[in-house]
Symmetry: C2
Subunit: 567 residues, 2 copies
Amino acid sequence: MKWWGWGVDGVAFNPDNKPKFPGFVQEKVGIDIYHTTSEPRFEDLDVPASQLPEDLRATLVAALSEEQVVTEDLERVVHAYGKGVRDLVRVRRGELGRVPDAILYPRDEDQVVAIVEAAVAADAVLIPFGGGSNIVGALEAEPGEQRTVLSIDMGLLNKVLEIDENSGLARIQAGALGPDLEEQLGRRGWTLGHFPDSFNHSTLGGWIATRSSGMQSDKYGDIADITRGLRMVTPAGEVVALRPLPATSSGPSVREMILGSEGRLGIITEATVAIHRVPEVREIQAYFFPSYAQGLACMQAIAFSDAAPSVARVSDHRETAFTLATSKESKGVSNLVTKALMTYLKQRRWDLSKLCLSFIGFEGSAQHVRYEKAQVNRIVSEHGGIGVGKGPGVLYDQKKFDTPYIRDFLLDRGAVADVSETATPWSSTQQVYDAVIAAAENAMAEQGVAGYIMAHLSHSYHSGACQYFTFAIADDSDEAIDKYDAVKRAVQQAFVDNNGTVSHHHGVGEEHSPWMEQDISPAGVGIQRSLFGAVDPGRNFNPGKIIHDGQPGISSNSKQPAATDEG
Amino acid sequence: MKWWGWGVDGVAFNPDNKPKFPGFVQEKVGIDIYHTTSEPRFEDLDVPASQLPEDLRATLVAALSEEQVVTEDLERVVHAYGKGVRDLVRVRRGELGRVPDAILYPRDEDQVVAIVEAAVAADAVLIPFGGGSNIVGALEAEPGEQRTVLSIDMGLLNKVLEIDENSGLARIQAGALGPDLEEQLGRRGWTLGHFPDSFNHSTLGGWIATRSSGMQSDKYGDIADITRGLRMVTPAGEVVALRPLPATSSGPSVREMILGSEGRLGIITEATVAIHRVPEVREIQAYFFPSYAQGLACMQAIAFSDAAPSVARVSDHRETAFTLATSKESKGVSNLVTKALMTYLKQRRWDLSKLCLSFIGFEGSAQHVRYEKAQVNRIVSEHGGIGVGKGPGVLYDQKKFDTPYIRDFLLDRGAVADVSETATPWSSTQQVYDAVIAAAENAMAEQGVAGYIMAHLSHSYHSGACQYFTFAIADDSDEAIDKYDAVKRAVQQAFVDNNGTVSHHHGVGEEHSPWMEQDISPAGVGIQRSLFGAVDPGRNFNPGKIIHDGQPGISSNSKQPAATDEG
């Protein structure tokens, strides 16, 4: 990953073949995409020196090797933060926070045990690092941390170790990135089916540590469902070894305690996950709805029906407009079809400014896909929607992992953008949507900035769904991130005030921790606190994440570590 | 429930219309069903006096009422144990263990808080009691417990409080029995779809506390999937209030810590659960397979297919023989059909002594049921099975909750019988089955008793399944329960030695606790221990359950409480 932004060098968002995009951005956020700042230069950073004590270095080098204990500045800066927009802004500004003193690259579980033992003996802080794509502040040390800070990069643990073809299970090392593991599984005809937006730059261990969810979770489940067996090195240097079981009633689920633990209970080294045969047919169909309310009602009806699509997604009219503006120029037949469609919808008295685009995915045998599609088409039709074929779905599939690049593009042009998502019961989907849009727009007005917010529903369950919000403000001043943060806070508060959770699949980190008591109740936080305190009494494992008594993270380095964290 | 056996007075297993049953039992276990012992008499019991301190009684009566604080002997004996066969034998023998000093019947959550505060202040032990159907020793106080023991019976908290029709969610009090809540939901066209064998005599709170699973879990999920929101009173007298969310990434799942906690973390007062519209069509189809191996392979193929039946169950040849022997006398046409079928199977060279009966359930619209059935029929056929229609399925549906009554019937006639179940990956289903049968038969031979063991596969998941074993030994001596226990221990050890969990849905209690380190690893047990110790430092909440360092429970009262329980 770039030290200052998303993804790899040389890949970026390209507006050139999207003729409607400049006008859209100008109109909605008021920025000129042709007015850009220069790329940040690493030489301009003032990187604090590593404070790795010599005896700890010697212990670590003896247990690993010289090359696996890295203290060079670029690596340390890359591991200082995740990739939330707050992180991007800080690093561009040269506000590096408490940069880790060393990055450790274990080759196997024994080396992880050795690292844990050395770190705890030296009272150092250990922060696990997978792909580094976290956007909720889970990867940074507490600002005032006085102890040695070690980042443990799991990147060398990237193998699919074993496939149990009779059970549909694969044992995979925690550091395997999405494309790595899908490639290794795909060679033998299998897929994990877990495709979060961050897929290219996130790891199995990271997904587990944050309770991730992929785009096809309606079929494959969230990572909590997918993860059957687990291995984790505890602060005591012991290995929790949970065998892959389809279900068990052996007390409170230790598996579900490790899921979402964000490094606070130990270092996840491998997991045994449910895998599926690559389906015979995989299809994404596009639909339009005349309003978001009808789209929401339709997704709920599908969830209650006998149909079980792999993806059920609908964008609000704001995001639909954005998607149409970022589409490549339509040409020839496709252009004619689009124009004909719009004419047809106008004739049916659709208000095209309220148009909502939906994608619904189908997987299985050809017969099964036909059967499911027929059911979904009927339900869509009952809710006033209209099918527009596979074309847009193919487009969606191609560019689904590219969205995060837009943040850097916008940052280069003076706009701060990021995402936040929640899940609610179905009865609250419209309510939370309305409240979040109002809260964000209100916060933008209060901050005196132009901005835009848009949303989609992206994961359906029997009793509720996830809605995903993207918002941007136009501000290139030094206060930009504070203003952005005020909007983000308003969004999060609207979530929990309207029956939503603080996060559906990004995790808590430091950024969402202030809402935890409102989300799971003070006594619920008390139980998490009890667990963390008892398993990691020295607060050596990613302290301050999930439970943190401060204010939501902002750009300032002036914050103190939350001394009352463990209460 | 009867103080000495399963279910309500006046209901018992009736062999009179099952002409093959006496011969079957005589042949397999060597007992004469017409030779019966007399029903135990309550007057013969020597019930130790309640040791409820007067000041604690006064506090409890002030917080509740006189009628809600019960110290009479019959109630105390009913609440002393669950209904495992070990419990039935002990209570019939008059071995009552550490009988609770009082039974408390709270009317609402505030009264539960008052009870918890009074109990913790008095350093009493609190044991939650739902339907009392537990079979793993989760309801009894530790034998040498010196402190006051209070059983908190949740029976008055039995209401469906609220139905959210748009979300498919119902808020239900923890003490609601299966029939109570299904009746209240059914009136409005909904079902929970959770039907464990104990359905008539177990409660929502009990299901949650033990991670229960119902017969239709393939469609409706285990109770862990069904439970979305929860309320629990902690040892500190605080209320954990988890809102009903379809999914969340708010740290380690507190919901999944309460699920399976068996009273060790607090008292569950209510849950918000996923409910479903009563389906248009519900059908159980019966099939025969020529061998259990083919039946297992078929169930696995169904789990990997696009089909999603609500039930997928196959019995081994031993259980099939038992089922045929307990069938009511066939008459007229049905008798002719059965005979014709057996002739047909013989012609196809099936070994009828290896015949395996399977039930597969379908739910949904008529069209959906047709579609699913066509797929399943094809897969059954590919695995050498044959469909035999709905008839046996209707029978299965009618008598599915009656099986536990057979234990009392057999006990009256000198045979000790009970059940145990495990879950493994699909690749281990045959292996664990073979190992369990061999281990049980070997243990019976070692104990010098005649016995019988039989099994079925009852819950399918993508990556594995649950198999459920029923076993009986013929012994009416004082050592009967010790011999039974030797068999049970052999079964449990075969589970964990062959990639199985210690329990799929009965829980751990005291009886399964010795296998916990083998099941979830010593470090995994360490995490549970940390959690219990931190949340309940005084060991007031059902101590000794789940984590217990003694030997598996046997009939003796000589055991001491496990002093090192909390390590």
